[in-house]
Symmetry: C2
Subunit: 450 residues, 2 copies
Amino acid sequence: MNEKDFAETFAAKLSDAVAQQQLDESVQQLQDLRPIDSADVLALMTPTLAWPLLQRLPNRATVFAYLAPDIQVAMAQVFPRASLAKIVGEMPADERTDLYKRLNQAQRDALLPALAQAEREDIRRLSAYEERTAGALMTSDYATLSAQMSVAEALAALRLEAPDAETIYHAYVIDAARKLLGVVSLRVLILASPEQRIADLMMSSVVSCNVHDDQEDVAKTIARYDLIALPITDDSGALVGIVTHDDAIDVVNDEATDDFHKSGGVSTMVGKLKDVSIRMLYRKRVFWLVFLVFGNLLSGLSIANFEEVIAANLVLVFFLPLLVDSGGNAGSQSATLMVRALATGEVVMRDWFSLLGREALVALMLGATMAVAISIIGYIRGDAVVSLVLALSMMSVVMIGCVIGMSLPFVLNKLGFDPAAASAPLITSVCDASGVLIYLFIASKFLAIG
Amino acid sequence: MNEKDFAETFAAKLSDAVAQQQLDESVQQLQDLRPIDSADVLALMTPTLAWPLLQRLPNRATVFAYLAPDIQVAMAQVFPRASLAKIVGEMPADERTDLYKRLNQAQRDALLPALAQAEREDIRRLSAYEERTAGALMTSDYATLSAQMSVAEALAALRLEAPDAETIYHAYVIDAARKLLGVVSLRVLILASPEQRIADLMMSSVVSCNVHDDQEDVAKTIARYDLIALPITDDSGALVGIVTHDDAIDVVNDEATDDFHKSGGVSTMVGKLKDVSIRMLYRKRVFWLVFLVFGNLLSGLSIANFEEVIAANLVLVFFLPLLVDSGGNAGSQSATLMVRALATGEVVMRDWFSLLGREALVALMLGATMAVAISIIGYIRGDAVVSLVLALSMMSVVMIGCVIGMSLPFVLNKLGFDPAAASAPLITSVCDASGVLIYLFIASKFLAIG
């Protein structure tokens, strides 16, 4: 039985148990699971049956935080307001803010007054940050120490903060103005003598990010320095939150999904593929498709221009899709390599010129190989002249395709766009337009008209 | 001054200093940087100038581990054998094994005898695992405890293991046969009373992976459960290593890069784009391109079959690239969404049928939109009949394209291939071949021949 079957079976069993008021045993069974697994099971139950169980779980706020956004909102409508406020108050600060941002105005008005002042303030502060920035990602549940503390005092402070802090493995040393002075790990603390001063143990050159930094940069910093948590500071250098390693890995996955979709010609979508509405799927795809219909007209114009050559040598049409596709395929490969390298930071703008030289060489080799392949077919289907036209066209089309494919991400980046917008559909359309032009131009030089 | 400029300037300064034997001050400056930043600087120096500095760094093994593989090997050739053996001995077990696997036989024969017995054994064991599995990813530097220990004894044990263990924030409870019994976090330990037993504090249902599991599954497990470290067991349930969160985030990035490349028609490459040889770039790209040259012949065959219709209605050629491209673009979008959803585990094989229904509906809407667009152009360029042929063809081509694009990843998956092999070049070629056929077939039904 795989994970999904197990969750469904368990959820059905629990629904029956709740309907028959056998709550205690059900809660006991749920408790044995890890929070995310409990959340998966509860998500498969109707909200009215799920919430009595959720409410009784010792780690209920953690489990609630793992539910998908739409299910959180559905449950929030079923919960009595006082219970909901308690659970929301117990949630980690960043998850709580995410939930708040998804509620409509009526739900917010119902929820806010029931929360404690500190939590209301927290929500207000965190929800003010722009989406996909460090501020929107961070949590305000972190452990702080003062530089004058001894190790013994620090450990005592961490024991107190442990239940509420996202992590106590890294503690941040701040001054009275909350300015970030240094960081000290729990590992260092337990290896130190109780009377040592924090000021002498802390690392004062702290890797941190600004609250307005893009979430992608935050994730890259965490990945580069192998951090468990990354402190986030505001413009004055005051500590305002932390982003933990688990959030970073989620960001890496999300950003990869976005880039992947973009390169396939799909605009950025929010949410899971199975849950997204048909209307949203349509909206995220139609722009590119229609734009490229008109973009592809350029191919048509080239064809119109060389109409007589085509009319006199219909064999050219036989090879048309094959040739232009090859240019598009080669261009796609080049673009793919470049877009990914730019996204991971492996390659930067000023590498373009040197990479262009290498790409031209590879394109030459690829073009030559494919020219041999097509000239054989060309000789069989047509004659030696056709074969020559095809070989020359293939070489040109592949080389131009590679150069276009390699350069477009850089050009887009230079113009301030996301290089990933150099999608496969865009590249193939541009390469097709140029490929048709090159092919028919070469053909017109070698083949008779009429 | 950006990061790269800073590293280059600093490296140049250090090279001068070393040449003039001013080693101590240089080491001091280098020491202030984080290990990965020190490694970046040393990588820009020639190995003969870099190694005197590296050797004197207190965290030299950590810095060495951060160097790129080829630079590690280059330095290994410059180091005196005794110094190299010392550094390699100090390295984290997983990094040491990675280095060992990259050395040639002569270098291995020179290195191994100089290492301690325990390290030789460790290398032998870890390097036996297949690439891209948990075994190849894991380190053997982890902290273990016995269930009978008290908290005080456990903390003492962790203090001893701290310098060598990759992490002490999670400690693994094993029995005499090294069977994994449970896990306990440092957080729990410092919150507990000194006389409590580990057996009562540990979590006995441990999330773990098997040593032969794919690295992608390991990373997904770490991401799902927000783990700092994941224990790896062999088939008998004995603990053999751990994989930490930082390795997981690197795997997520690598796997995303692989999928990205595959979807662009590039076979899996190892290494950075800037360092890869031209020959390797050629080899990883030529297969698909040549394969698709022959694949695209199918388009040509369709054209050959309908030659008379084309000869009599050259306006069809005007629209040929536009139409078949649209099918390919729509198919690319569908494939992209599906491949990514399959890769992240969002969608599983049995979802195919229900997703197909939704996709058909979206395809209908998209096809209708694009049919309207093209029929306008068709009416301007041709006449009402041409307009009708184009509209019908566009609808069909887009719908078939979407179905192909959506289904191909599933079909490939079913046949045991990686769904990401449903690359943009493959999809566009398949959609082009079918698009040409559909288009010319419809045209032949409505337009006169000759």
